[in-house]
């Protein structure tokens, strides 16, 4: 079967005709396969959802009990027939529960990697390469400028600043699912065992990680107890990036504005956002990891989606690998 016939983009999302399902659809559909719980990939309102246990739980936490009509757990590595297609889920290393989805029919296999990364992350399973004919890769950081540094070094920058500015609250903006918990886990690994204060938007997800056995240590709500703002002096406060531009941030003494994101690599981006201490920590592949993954999987074709497709397609051409951009709409790379 030709790959283009097995999976192709439609306005609702990537569609498998022989299997009659969509992968990460952006509009409500009959049957959806979801790679991971980020809001632009996992939406509510589908009739039937197939995803990992963790992704289903996260969707329930975010959208409530009735986020879909019926759900089915995808066990990692197990093959499952759906109409004329066979699918299997494999760890993607992006966030807790994230999976790549391999779709197979009549001898052709396509791997939809979703969002993925190759680095160690204490809060999720590592990426597993799956051989395939077509590898669909994201390209969020698909430019040769993106070389994410060691995340331990980025955490050390925060710890240094806590020592240098013990009178200031350290406000870390981090995406509520995945990034926030990873930053907390990395801080704990680096020996920071003081209480970490979290924004209300993070509470349920952090609780969920803790029930899954990821120890995030002493987390406390970042609300003023009595009138003593000084409890935040020299403390780490974590919340979604949008909260720090909001009135919510006014309760903290002389805050240091921090943002944990792959975008923080480019100084001008940090400056524009008014970030004082950028932490370059990403849940996506950097350029070296993207190119290394394509080399390792060695598919006969690469389809490149959301991000900077043109540079990765160009690199594939230079390596003699067939590649083309796959134009999918509705995915947001700015929240990273």
């Amino acid at each position: 079967m030709k790959p283009d016939a097995l999976l192709f983009p439609t306005p609702r999302g990537l569609f498998c005709e022989v299997g009659q399902f969509y992968v990460d659809p952006v509009q409500p559909v009959e049957r959806a396969l979801i790679t991971h719980g980020h809001a632009d990939h996992a939406r509510s309102g589908h009739r039937h959802v197939l995803a990992t246990r963790e992704t289903l739980d996260i969707m329930r936490i975010r959208y409530g009990e009735d986020f879909c009509e019926s759900e089915q757990v995808a066990v990692l590595g197990e093959r499952l027939a759906i109409n004329g297609a066979t699918v299997s889920f494999h760890p993607a290393g992006h966030v807790l529960g994230s999976a790549q989805i391999a779709v197979e029919a009549q001898g052709t296999r396509i791997v939809v990697s979703g969002d993925y990364k190759r680095r160690r992350d204490p809060t999720c399973l590592p990426f597993e390469p799956v051989s395939c004919d077509v590898f669909i890769t994201e390209a969020t950081f698909g430019l040769p400028v993106f070389h994410h540094p060691d995340d331990r070094h980025e955490v050390a920058k925060l710890l240094t600043s806590l020592r240098q500015f013990p009178e200031r609250a350290h406000l870390v903006g981090a995406y509520a699912l995945g990034k926030a918990q990873r930053v907390i886990a990395l801080l704990r690994e680096a020996g920071h065992d003081a209480p970490i204060y979290i924004h209300g938007a993070l509470t349920k997800l952090c609780d969920y990680y803790q029930t899954k056995g990821y120890d995030l240590g002493d987390l406390r709500p970042a609300t003023i107890v009595g009138k003593d703002r000084q409890i935040f002096a020299g403390a780490v406060v974590i919340g979604p990036p949008s909260a720090f531009a909001d009135k919510w941030a006014r309760r903290f003494p002389d805050p240091v504005s921090i943002f944990a994101s792959g975008w923080m690599l480019v100084r001008q981006r940090a400056k524009q956002r008014g970030v004082e201490l950028p932490m370059i920590i990403s849940d996506h592949c950097d350029w070296a990891e993207l190119t290394q993954t394509i080399r390792e999987i060695a598919p006969s074709q690469v389809w490149v989606t959301h991000g900077r497709e043109e540079a990765l397609v160009r690199w594939c051409e230079l390596q003699g690998i067939a590649a083309r951009p796959l134009h999918l709409v509705g995915y947001d790379d700015e929240g990273e």
Binding site: P144, V145, Q164, Q268, R273, R314
Partner: protein
């Protein structure tokens, strides 16, 4: 190099002055000589390196990278040094020679390398550094760190290392050179204060405190001399032991920009005065405005025409050295008498004496201050007759009493989020006034202000911005500003000049929001013509 690179990365994103100083001080304390001294030199722009041309860097990166991919990258990042620092990947067969990557060692190599070896050296260094160090290195060799730290701020941090006054560091500064080892040794108490070889060094200037409420009530006018506060730049002109130098107030050597003054300074001594352009009182020609003086500032080369069109002169305030004798401990009147004699003998087109303003009561002086006889006067200086010349800003011997600021009513047009404490507030405001455009009245931006208001007023402004946003451009919002709906603020400022850089054609000095005019509608705000008339010195009633 790594510690220096991390320092730069922090400084460039740190808005608060005190936080910058702490980052610098911590770095100077933790870093050994000579690295810290070279870092200081790089920040204070006293480091001379053979610059590496951007074209060479581009060639180096394209040796190992596809041109199309480089172009995509450069387009995205927008800064050549940063792009190269990020895309650079060491090759497998990279030069295995181990380089000493300390800042001092790198600078030493750059200073001693021959022209033909530059390419290979830069390539090898880039191969061995991490990305952040590559960025600092490339900024260093292409000239221009642009990290928002002035030489003065760096000197303040240096002084803090040893708990000294910045005046001590400024006085020594021009007698020392990178890597400033003896300076740091002294600050850390490990060596004597460095002895200066050049006599014509900068001596930290004496500064005045503003006249506050009730300051004058307890003082006797008979103890003070008054003189005009001229609107130029404060300078120190030194000619000692055959060395002539012109320094700005903060000790920057600006001799190269004013060869006319240097040449005319044929007397021995150190003068404190105001640098101005135009004619001296001794030639009976008018003193010209600050915007004319700006034509002469910050130039590396000065053309003959520039010297002719914008003649500079020094209006003497004080004398620190008479001949080679340090007279700073003498009283003000005694020093002034010697200054008068010196000026009398000096070139009449390049030097005059700032006249004393006779007065007998504070009320009389207050009146003179409000209506000065010359547009280039920005207020009154009060100096105790018996005061010695002491560096720094002690309260008591000298006061400054500024004329009242200019005021206009303007309309808020844009707001930007502040930094640090104010990062959740829209606290940087662009305001405009009315002018005619396309046959109808439109608002044209005339300035930006981010202080002057109280915390309570900021809450009001912030609420208005959040509730009346029209468009967002990154951190900037445009707000509703129509004839019958909008927010009027009273803007106070110290002066106004013509400016070709601004759409409105005017630029204010030190604008701040002095009052919220919630009682006014935007249609009642001022017009651009009013501002232009202020430049021309027309009295407006």
């Amino acid at each position: 190099m790594r510690a220096f690179a991390e320092l730069l990365d922090r400084l460039v994103l740190t808005p608060q002055r005190n936080a910058k100083i702490r980052l610098l001080t911590d770095y100077f304390r933790a870093t050994p000589d000579p690295d810290r001294g070279y870092a200081l030199a790089a920040i204070a722009s006293t480091l001379s390196l053979n610059a590496v041309k951007p074209a060479l860097l581009r060639e180096l990166v394209l040796e190992r990278m596809d041109e199309v991919l480089f172009r995509y990258s450069y387009d995205y990042v927008g800064d050549l040094a940063e792009t190269i620092s990020l895309v650079w990947e060491p090759t497998a067969d990279a030069d295995r020679k181990e380089y000493d990557l300390s800042l001092g060692a790198i600078i030493h190599q750059l200073q001693s390398v021959s022209r033909s070896e530059v390419r290979a050296l830069v390539r090898s260094l880039l191969d061995q550094m991490d990305s952040s160090s590559r960025f600092a290195f490339l900024k260093l060799v292409t000239g221009g760190l642009r990290i928002g730290v002035s030489a003065r701020l760096a000197k303040q941090a240096v002084a803090d290392v040893g708990g000294r006054d910045i005046g001590d560091v400024e006085t020594l500064w021009h007698g020392l050179s990178p890597p400033y080892t003896e300076l740091f040794q002294w600050l850390e108490g490990k060596a004597e204060k460095p002895a200066l070889k050049t006599p014509a060094v900068f001596h930290a200037v004496m500064l005045a405190t503003p006249v506050g409420d009730n300051d004058l009530a307890s003082l006797d006018p008979a103890d003070f001399a008054a003189e005009w506060k001229w609107d130029g730049i404060r300078v120190q002109l030194a000619n000692l032991g055959g060395t002539r130098r012109l320094y700005s107030r903060s000790g920057d050597d600006i001799s190269g920009t004013f060869p006319d003054i240097l040449e005319a300074a044929d007397f021995e001594g150190v003068i404190d005065g105001e640098l101005l352009v135009g004619g001296t009182s001794r030639t009976n020609r008018a003193t010209r405005t600050f915007s004319d003086l700006q034509q002469r500032l910050n130039r590396k080369t000065v053309s003959g025409k520039m010297l002719e069109d914008y003649p500079a002169f020094v209006r003497g305030y004080d004398l620190l050295f008479s001949g080679t004798t340090d007279i700073r401990s003498d009283g003000f009147l005694a020093r002034r008498e010697k200054l008068a004699n010196l000026v009398e003998a000096a070139s009449p087109v390049h030097f005059d004496l700032s006249p004393l303003v006779p007065f007998s009561t504070w009320e009389e002086l207050d009146h003179l201050r409000s209506e000065p006889p010359d547009p280039v006067i920005e207020g009154i200086m009060l100096k105790r007759l018996d005061s010695p010349y002491t560096s720094g800003r002690a309260k008591g011997p000298w006061f400054k009493w500024k004329r009242n600021p200019y005021n206009i009513d303007a309309v808020l047009m844009y707001a930007q989020r502040g930094h640090g404490k104010r990062s959740s507030y829209y606290s940087d405001f662009t305001f405009g006034v009315w002018t005619e455009g396309d046959g109808k009245d439109v608002l044209v931006p005339v300035g930006k202000a981010y202080f002057g208001f109280t915390d309570a007023e900021l809450e009001v402004l912030d609420r208005f911005v959040r509730n009346n946003t029209i468009e967002r451009f990154g951190p900037v919002r445009s707000v509703r500003a129509e004839a019958d709906f909008g927010f009027v603020v009273e803007v106070a400022f110290e002066g106004i000049n013509r400016s070709g850089r601004h759409k409105s054609g005017v630029a204010m000095r030190f604008p701040r929001i002095s009052r919220l005019r919630t009682d006014k509608l935007p249609r009642d705000a001022d017009r651009l013509e009013t501002l232009i008339a202020m430049i021309d010195g027309v009295k407006l009633t």
